[in-house]
Homo-oligomer: 512 residues x 2
């Protein structure tokens, strides 16, 4: 690079950095100011609800390897035969509607980051569960605790994300029985946003609660929601003891659970949109009602993970029309039930952060926004059907997340929004660039993408002719370089580390 | 490649080819079976309509260099001062609603391809207007007539596209004053889908009409819509003589025109969503009313091309939230007016068919579908703000277009859709793959992407680890290789070529 280029590059680099700084402000959630897209009419939704009751009454749900769960359900009015639980029509709905909150606060250790899940709000969290990560430099590899911390930091630094998430990747370099300590600690240490708890064993849920007590105080942490945790059904129509065990710990401690049917249509559910939606409703009704029987008033979120499948390979597919139709349907069912709804995300099947990843992710994100998802897990980073957390994909999805806050913000109908003064100033054949109205508004009028290149071909070529993934690569590195720890009371930090050290000592030093 | 790999590759190649064959059937249009997403309420829409009337009454529209237009407008009730035309409140609306059809048939030379524009239908056409093309092998280059023919062929071969479009790229290797002959001929020869006419000069519009007469017969071609052509306003608030000249030729011959405000918000309109939508309405009202004054009953489409801008570079930006809010708004205004609506497309600013291109295109396509666009120009191929027609991007967007037909098809609420029999057959903890219901439905249950890779990382790596653009590259080449001419009456073909030869001889042999 010549000296002139270096000088120009320096200027251009800082200009580029300035361009890339997001003007999205950190908020606790997005306030929705637009209608919901209502796909189905009242009669169709009522029919689905009726059919879900038929499933619950006639076929039922298996609650496996958990006698305590069965007796709670029996006491709640369900019919128990072996592990098969059948619910009289309307029972789950009435149990839920009696005590489950329509919306709830999840407190963060920084009160400014405490969020509200439900109602007319949308809360965005990173992707969850990937055992692998990928970036442009090192390619695809097993995720480590260092990657975990990186993604917690990236989420912390992304104003468009409101939540730190949970298993932002699976740190497989740590033993299974102990990694949750480092994961929960990482959320608490490297972020001050609300986070999700461990669910892989009831004792790990308890450890999560105990660590939350250290941070929030025991009384506060067990009477207010300070964690939201993902409880997957074992679709179809089954809850297993691991998930139930974690659910009980959280519900008893008034912590929120996201009761999530997990569906690859055609495999874990019927192939049709209505069949899938009906099953999702039945499973979620049972799980959410169960949580209320464990602890009336424990917050629950109606979760849904639902994809189509490739009938050739059996692999899940994303971004297509059928999962969108399912999401619109189930969102309406959740609204009618009166509980917060979780679904969506930047879902894709692509191995790379390429056009496939983006078409698929965008289709799902747009759907989630219009459908009225309240809590969106998997917003950022998802690749390869959920197997991989992508660094570049994360940054791209965060850009999209920022846009959702503007889309959901709706339309300004004020005098300023109507802009009549601008027309009176400018007139036919002129341009509006210098108009007073434009000058007053231009800085906030349009969302500025953190990653899109809008320049001419010539300028883009001069700047290296990069694709979006390459720009995202530069960006995540810069964000991590700019990262600074949020403040934390050293006494709390020390108490957490003591707790972790003590608990880790309880475990044999091998992976199982 | 080893012999074993070659054998495996051979099998896999044909399997891959089979996978890639679209199961989307060629239709004349998409029938919409879902609601519209109604962003604004009645009062807000009425306010915008009122403000548009204020613009038309108080400020007016310039109709430049066309005295005939001015006297038609004057006779129609407008106030003329110089070239400034002011419309009494409600005049344009009443002129339009008196005679403009709510929907109309555009005939194709193959009657099976004749389409309907308006009402509850969506018609998809390729991108329009790019002077450059791009593909992975040859990169970016000026478009040629060979590229033009390629895109006509690709659109012909894509069941998800219903319309051949117009200037699918600008063949700059041909002289400006004569290229329209080859362009129109290419649509007629290489496709049998409906197409768009030339608008760059009134004589070229006349040539289009004359060529249509050869194909459809003179009486038919001048009393039925056989072309739909793009008439851009010279926003803000101006129509110029070139566009008016073409408009008059088409309207007089009962041909459809898409009256399109062309807006980069902040430059050609105020920066706000409502300001932009109001101006779009005012301009379109004036242009569509004018077309009715030229020829009552001539079909008109309420067009909109609207983007945000980068306030740093002044370049148009795509796929962001504000243009979506504008599109939802204007779609509702067009519905209230009772005319077909054109907008949307796979719009993007990206130079490449990368993730940026896809996020941006997908956001716009989803919005167009939910908003209720009737005629979507730019569906496939758009890159670099419209400067480039991309071969790979075309194929990717066509895959998305196929999906829109499924999304708009809505939800099957029948017994089969409800799938209760499947639940009764399968039960908790089992899977649905072998269920009778699944077997009966799986082949049509899910849209199968023509380009997405849904395979495992291992299989994808084995197959070359390609990104979506690389697969699209293989695909467009295969589609062109498989292309076969639709049949055409040799007498008509001959007559067209004679006409073209004669008319070309009228022009001096140089470019101007």
């Amino acid at each position: 690079m010549s000296e002139r280029q270096a000088r120009r590059g320096g200027g251009r680099d800082s200009k580029r950095a300035a361009r890339q700084v997001s003007q999205t402000k950190q908020a606790a959630f997005i306030e929705r100011r637009i209608p919901y897209f209502e796909l189905l009419d009242e009669a169709s939704l009522a029919l689905i609800e009726d059919n879900a009751d038929t499933l619950l009454e006639e076929i039922g749900i298996d609650f496996r390897d958990d006698p305590e769960a069965l007796s709670l359900l029996k006491a709640g009015g369900a019919d128990i035969q072996g592990e098969r639980v059948r619910f009289p029509r309307g029972l789950c709905r009435s149990i839920i509607q009696a005590t489950a909150p329509k919306e709830f606060i999840q407190h963060a250790r920084n009160p400014e980051r405490s969020t509200v899940i439900g109602g007319r709000r949308m809360v965005l969290a990173p992707a969850y569960g990937s055992p692998f990560v990928r970036d442009l430099d090192k390619g695809r590899r097993y995720a480590s605790i260092e990657d975990f911390r990186n993604f917690v930091k990236l989420a912390y630094m992304s104003p468009g994300l409101h939540h730190s998430g949970g298993t932002v990747c699976e740190p497989v370099d740590l033993p299974v029985n102990k990694r949750h300590f480092d994961m929960i600690y990482s959320h608490l240490k490297y972020s001050d946003k609300p986070f999700m708890g461990s669910v892989t064993h009831h004792s790990r849920a308890q450890d999560t609660v105990d660590m939350a007590k250290i941070v929030f105080g025991e009384a506060f942490a067990t009477n207010n929601c300070v964690t939201t945790s993902l409880i997957n059904a074992n679709s179809p129509m089954t809850y297993d003891d691991t998930m139930l065990g974690a659910l009980k710990v959280y519900a008893r401690n008034m912590q929120a659970t996201v009761i999530s049917p997990f569906i690859l249509s055609g495999a874990m559910s019927p192939v049709t949109v209505v069949g899938t939606a009906t099953q999702i409703l039945a499973e979620a009704l049972a799980g959410m009602a169960f949580a209320q029987l464990v602890r009336p008033g424990a917050p629950v979120v109606f979760g849904t993970f639902s994809s189509a499948v490739s009938m050739q390979s059996g692999a899940p597919t994303f971004g297509g029309p059928e999962p969108s139709l399912v999401m619109y349907t189930v969102a309406a069912l959740a609204r009618r039930l009166g509980v917060p709804f979780r679904s969506g995300g930047g879902l894709c099947a692509s191995k790379l952060a390429d056009a496939q990843a983006a078409y698929e992710a965008a289709n799902t994100l747009q759907t989630a926004a219009l459908a009225g998802v309240n809590f969106m897990l998997h917003t950022a980073g998802w690749l390869e059907g959920g197997l991989v957390m992508g660094y570049e994909k994360f940054m791209m999805d965060v850009d999209q997340a920022n846009m959702l806050s503007v889309l959901l913000g709706g339309v300004d109908m004020s005098e300023n929004g109507q802009a009549l003064e601008a027309f009176r100033e400018v007139g036919p054949g002129k341009h509006f660039l210098g108009a007073a109205h434009t000058q007053r508004n231009f800085e906030t009028a349009f969302y500025r993408s953190t990653l899109a290149d809008n320049n001419s071909f010539e300028q883009w070529t001069e700047e290296g002719g990069q694709d979006m993934a390459q720009r995202a690569n530069t960006q995540w590195k810069r964000v991590l370089a700019d990262y600074e720890l949020p403040p934390m009371d050293p006494a709390i930090d020390e108490a957490l580390l003591e707790f972790i050290a003590k608990r880790k000592a309880d475990f044999p030093d091998k992976d199982y």
